[in-house]
């Protein structure tokens, strides 16, 4: 079965096709090949979301995973972050959850929370 991807390395947005024998076609440059290979074997994404706080002035603080996490863990990680409450002043870049789901990625603040 042929799988189809849109390469997002540059604005051109080549439609790249991969067949069962891993023949890659449709990309206009080499970068498209490595993009599709990563997407096929181990697609990763950075999650950006918010965490609840106890502070009235800042009810939500924005957070992210500091390195990309496997795409299939997105929903599990969202669930964990939604269960956490920031209850003390924290600075931008501080770790809220370390090594989430053993991914080697930390969830860090992307905005300082009253600090």
């Amino acid at each position: 079965m042929t799988k189809s991807f849109i390469c997002i390395v540059c604005p051109r947005g080549c439609r790249v096709n991969v067949d069962d024998n891993m023949n890659i076609t449709g990309n206009q440059c080499k970068r498209g090949e490595s993009y599709v290979l990563t997407e096929l074997t181990a697609p990763k994404r950075i999650i950006t979301t918010t965490a609840r706080t106890v502070f009235k002035q800042l009810p939500r603080v924005s957070v992210k995973t500091d390195v990309p996490i496997p795409k299939e863990l997105i929903y599990d990680i969202m669930n964990i972050i939604n269960g956490v409450v920031v209850d003390k002043p924290m600075a931008i870049g501080e770790v809220l959850i370390s090594n989430i789901l053993d991914t080697g990625s930390n969830v860090i603040l992307t905005k300082s929370c009253l600090k």
Binding site: R60, S62, T110, K111
Partner: protein
């Protein structure tokens, strides 16, 4: 009290303009209407910012933080929770009226003004969707603010009209927070958003994109809440095609149908308008035809990357500073810049040969997608400069920087984008 430069708006644009003007040694006051600096970046919690300026990938709040720190370091005077209500031209400058809970209504004079007021979202009223007028029809940017800053969802079953970047980003965001995002409809046969956002916000989560479709009916329930919408395919003249109706049961319709520069403060000044950018005309110093009035960022032209907003506003800050120092009077050696073949618009609109800025940064958008193109800049039918540009799309603004020495001061400067 008189200032040398007043910057209106403390978002990405205002911060960069104020910092650069202050670094040039000017006495600067920045006025921000919200209770914090950073503007719309505060609610743009997704990443992808800063690759050009910082060579790093930041989220919106992180990008803002870098500039806010720099702003504090330079000890720039600023007001929060203060809304500018009037800008009036007086002898030797401007009188600015602002209103804040702390100070009441105050006036302050200044030599120069930098408008960095950003843009606002087009609403339902500007596209006339037939049907009821229920709660639940809201702009994508407002929903983004409610969710990311205030922490509540505007609905559970969501449809999005318009494939602008904010709409795409909100499709993913609401999906990840548990909403059922049923689809995105785009009137044009192509998306207006960045390809990266189509892939990572829609395709990643199997959210369908209906190209050449629009919302043709909005239905309310008896409590005046949104109950359902109908979308229809459109023909090449954008007229709905009968028989293509699709019904969606939704409680929320997000609108991501475009941004308009916010220049309402300039209504009482006689500023020359550009009906393409929906803002005003400027010369290469970001100065309007009202001397001392500068404009930059999304209030000048809607950008797709914040990095370009910062860089542009930094240049505007330097130009405003030069103006204050030299007190240049009305610009008179103006040559027109013309958006020629295949171009939607070009800024600046004029090149002022009496100005101290010898660098001209032309920014433009193409009218259509072109695989291989040649940008030709000419005067009096003579080619001044050409540049090959591969893959141009309307959604991505392009630029080229030239020195004023390349041009003569008597003929229009024409930019054409030739298809190769």
């Amino acid at each position: 009290m008189k200032k040398e430069i007043i910057v209106i708006g403390g978002g990405a644009s205002g911060l960069a303009a104020a910092i650069s003007a202050k670094k040039e040694g000017r006495d600067v006051l920045l006025i921000e209407k919200e209770d914090r600096l950073g503007g719309i970046l505060n609610q743009c919690i997704h990443n992808g910012f800063g690759l050009q300026v910082f060579k790093e990938e930041y989220t919106g709040p992180e990008y803002a933080d870098r500039y806010i720190n720099e702003f504090y370091k330079n000890n720039i005077e600023y007001l929060l929770d203060a809304t500018v209500t009037d800008v009036i031209k007086i002898k030797d400058g401007f009188e600015i009226t602002f209103s804040s809970r702390k100070t009441g209504i105050k006036k302050v004079n200044t030599n120069a003004v930098i408008m960095s007021t950003g843009c606002y979202e087009r609403t339902r009223g500007s596209i006339i969707i037939p049907g009821d007028r229920p709660y639940g029809v809201i702009t994508a940017g407002s929903a983004q603010r409610y969710l990311n800053i205030d922490g509540y969802m505007v609905g559970k079953n969501v449809f999005i009209l318009g494939s602008g970047d904010i709409g795409l980003i909100m499709a993913r965001r609401m999906h990840l927070e548990g909403a059922n995002v049923l689809g995105v409809a785009e009137l044009m046969p192509y998306s207006n958003g960045l390809t990266r956002n189509i892939v990572q916000c829609l395709n990643d989560f199997d959210i369908p994109l209906f190209l050449s479709h629009t919302v043709t009916q909005v239905n309310a329930n008896k409590n005046q809440r949104l109950e359902s919408i109908i979308i229809q395919q459109v023909d090449e003249k954008y007229n709905p095609i009968e028989g293509t109706e699709k019904n969606f049961k939704v409680d929320t319709l997000l609108l991501s149908i475009g941004l308009i520069p916010d220049i309402t403060l300039l209504d009482n000044l006689n500023v020359e308008k550009d009906y393409k950018t929906k803002s005003v005309k400027i010369n290469q110093s970001y100065q309007t035809n009202v001397s001392g009035l500068f404009i930059c960022g999304n209030s000048l032209q809607v950008h797709d990357l914040v990095d370009n907003v910062s860089l542009e506003s930094e240049r505007a800050g330097v130009c405003a500073s030069q103006y204050v120092l030299s007190q240049t009077t009305k610009a008179n050696k103006n040559v027109r810049v013309v958006a020629g073949k295949n171009l939607l618009f070009v800024t600046p609109h004029y090149v002022d040969f009496s100005s101290e800025s010898s660098k001209i940064v032309f920014q433009f958008r193409s009218k259509m997608k072109i695989e291989k193109s040649m940008l030709k800049i000419s005067q009096d039918n003579k080619l001044v400069k050409n540049k090959r540009i591969n893959f141009v799309v309307p959604a991505e603004m392009e630029s080229i920087t030239l020195n004023i020495e390349n041009f003569d001061s008597s003929n229009d400067i024409v930019l054409d984008l030739e298809v190769l």
